[in-house]
């Protein structure tokens, strides 16, 4: 524990006041987390993992848990695309719909009704430093959420959609916890579709805990689609057993501040993770992803591709940490961060961070930041395509290589349309 007597800003009173005496987490874990968040306050720019992302705007707000029954059941755009999806609906962090007629081998349990064992698994990750303050806050507070369990040898053909509608109640603040447990050889797709509603200011602080048994496979998508005043802090912990495969697609197209953290712990041989991401900040949006992959066993692999397209005064942040433990020989880790700046006011911060203790590994990383390629623009224009259209084609083209990683063809087309639509409103910057 650090003995530096650096004074930390106090936890804003409205957050402190909302801390419950007990929550969904097991009591000892909840009270420890409560103590941590009270002591630490919110993360600040002085905390290494937060040096690019300022939560000060949060401190100045007074947000409240949505009181009563804030039901707004607007059709979610993704339901039209994935007609066979099993849709779990949350409105302002409160569970509204939990399907009951489920395929064999699949169970959904609301956090409120989860067993002691399910809660222990859902709240397993512990905060250790002030960088983890939001995890502690969530553990201390979360009452709502869902436990998704896929039994061994179950191959789900229907995707599970977690549909988040935040900000139905203006200036609301909610905390959710999601637990996804895959048995041996199980396969599933979980798509989190996130909407900030009605341009209302709101903040959701959420934590997901993914545990995959041997040879299981999960496609996990996070799609931030709408809401200019939406704040989302989302931390996802993934633990992979032998031969398990985790495929993440993180696509953030909206939000005032979106901070995602993805921690993947590869614990045994043969396991693999793909982390793909696309962030498109514009206006004054801050879209941030921090990933941490730990290769804790030999013969494991990871593959990471992140792209940011920043327009207007948007900010994109990507930090990708890869840690290779000392006895994790013969691993292969690839990381690539490519970034496009479309305006003079836009900003992109990208940082690969490789920490390698084994000596027989294959690790590579690369990061580029650039403008749209003049040659490519000229080529398209020389075919008669007008400048604005040519520019749009190139931007969507840059995004397309990430969108193409979506597991379902219908989803690829739909996401391409979302990105194109998103560009429709952008100003042309020279």
């Amino acid at each position: 524990m650090s003995r530096v007597a650096e004074k930390r800003a106090e936890l804003p009173a409205w957050i402190a006041a909302a801390l419950p005496a007990t929550a969904a987490a097991p009591n000892d874990i909840q009270s420890a987390a409560r103590q941590q968040i009270t002591q630490w306050g919110l993360p600040s720019l002085r905390d290494e993992e937060w040096r690019w992302t300022n939560l000060r705007s949060l401190s100045r707000q007074t947000l409240a848990a949505p009181a009563g029954d804030a039901a707004q059941d607007v059709p979610h755009p993704i339901s039209a695309v994935l007609t066979d999806a099993l849709v779990i609906e949350f409105v302002d962090g409160q569970l509204k719909t939990l399907p009951t007629d489920l395929p064999a081998g699949l169970t959904f349990t609301s956090l409120e009704h989860a067993s002691a064992e399910q809660r222990a698994a859902a709240f397993a990750p512990a905060a250790t430093t002030p960088n983890d303050a939001l995890l502690a806050l969530n553990t201390a507070s979360a009452q709502q959420g869902v436990v998704i369990e896929v039994a061994a040898n179950t191959v789900l053909t229907r995707p599970i959609v977690l549909q988040w509608q935040d900000g139905v109640v203006p200036e609301s603040f909610s905390q959710t916890r999601v637990s996804i447990q895959l048995g041996a050889h199980a396969q599933a797709t979980v798509i989190e579709s996130i909407l900030g509603m009605n341009q209302n200011l709101c903040w959701r602080n959420t934590v997901s805990v993914v545990t995959q048994a041997v040879n299981s496979q999960l496609h996990h998508l996070s799609l931030g689609l709408d809401g200019d005043h939406h704040l989302l802090t989302d931390r996802t912990f993934v633990t992979l057993a032998r031969d398990a495969r985790y495929h993440s697609l993180n696509l953030q197209l909206a939000g005032q501040l979106i901070r995602r953290e993805i921690d993947v712990n590869i614990t045994d041989t043969g396991a693999h993770c793909d982390l793909f991401g696309l962030m498109m900040p514009r206006g004054k949006q801050v879209l941030d992803t921090h990933t941490r992959i730990i290769h804790n066993a030999p013969h494991t692999t990871s593959n990471e591709h992140y792209r940011t397209i920043a327009d207007e005064a948007g900010r994109g942040i990507f930090k990708g940490r890869i840690l290779v433990a000392q006895d994790a020989q013969k691993i292969s880790a690839f990381q690539d961060s490519r970034n496009l700046l479309l305006s003079d006011q836009a900003e992109i911060d990208t940082k690969p961070e490789l920490e390698i203790y084994a000596d027989d590994v294959k690790c590579s990383h690369g990061a580029t930041i650039g403008r749209l390629d003049d040659e490519s623009l000229y080529y398209l224009q020389s075919r008669g395509i007008p400048f604005a259209k040519a520019r749009g084609l190139l931007i969507v083209g840059f995004a397309q290589e990430i969108i193409d990683k979506a597991p379902l063809p219908a989803l690829v087309d739909w996401l391409t349309a979302q990105v194109t639509r998103r560009l429709g409103g952008t100003t042309v910057a020279e």
Binding site: L380, R383, G384
Partner: protein, 251 residues
């Protein structure tokens, strides 16, 4: 009928003059070849006519169908029927060929006051052209020129031309980097572009292409000027003597 008339065209990059008084006219129905050694200004001439930024035109005029070509933007030139085939077609991963072809055709149709082409009709047409150029349908869903071989890139250039049917096709070293089979396919494509109301300008370093696409006129470009014009025998003479001797004799 004059398609393009270039008079006393001078252009420079930075302080370096590249074109130093080009005079040259293409009438409808004609095929012209412009030959010259490296650094003679062939590519600069193509880029200036294509409307690329970075060149300063210091003197001269270019009229295209009676309009001042130099006033038009790159895309305006293209939709007006002047198309440039690139020496080094750009690779654009992520943008599918099919999108480029569709957007380009629809831009041209919009300029003519026509609606977008029906998708079914478009696909039918494209599939025929893909076959003509000896390509595979799968290419349509690959990124523009991404990972293409030299030959595939040049075939793709001609495929675009066949779709867009330019009034004036300006082909910058379309034959470079082609093996003999690809050269034949590309030449056949170019021959399909010939027509009584169209013009073609082949810019090339070698005579080889001209055996397959017979030009009506051959011009020799040297140090930014056309130093000699003639019929196709000029190309053969140049090939036989080599640039060095030919240029010494001519200048």
């Amino acid at each position: 009928m004059k398609l393009i008339e270039i008079k006393n065209l001078h252009a420079k990059i930075g302080d370096k003059p590249i074109l130093r008084g080009i005079n040259f006219t293409v009438n409808a129905g004609e095929v012209h070849a412009i030959m010259g050694p490296n650094g003679s200004g062939k590519s600069t001439l193509c880029q200036v006519l294509g409307g690329r930024e970075g060149y300063e035109i210091t003197e001269g005029t270019v009229e295209y169908e009676g309009k001042n070509l130099l006033d038009l933007s790159t895309e305006e030139r293209a939709v007006a029927g002047l198309l440039l085939g690139f020496q080094h077609p750009v690779e654009i991963p992520g943008v599918k060929n099919i999108y480029l072809l569709k957007e380009a055709l629809n831009a041209q149709r919009a300029a003519q006051g026509l609606d977008d082409m029906d998708t079914f009709a478009f696909m039918k047409k494209i599939r025929e052209l893909v076959k003509t150029m000896g390509m595979d349908d799968a290419f349509l869903h690959r990124g523009v020129n991404a990972g293409f071989s030299g030959g595939e890139k040049k075939r793709n250039e001609i495929l675009q031309m066949l779709l867009l049917q330019p009034k004036l096709a300006l082909l910058d070293e379309t034959d470079s980097g082609l093996d003999i089979d690809a050269l034949k396919v590309v030449s056949e494509g170019i021959n399909l572009l010939r027509g009584a109301d169209r013009g073609i300008v082949l810019v090339t370093h070698y005579q080889r292409l001209l055996s397959y696409v017979e030009p009506d006129f051959v011009h020799i470009l040297y140090k930014g000027q056309i130093i000699k014009s003639g019929d196709k025998s000029l190309a053969l003479q140049l090939e036989a003597e080599g640039y060095q001797d030919f240029l010494e004799a001519a200048s």
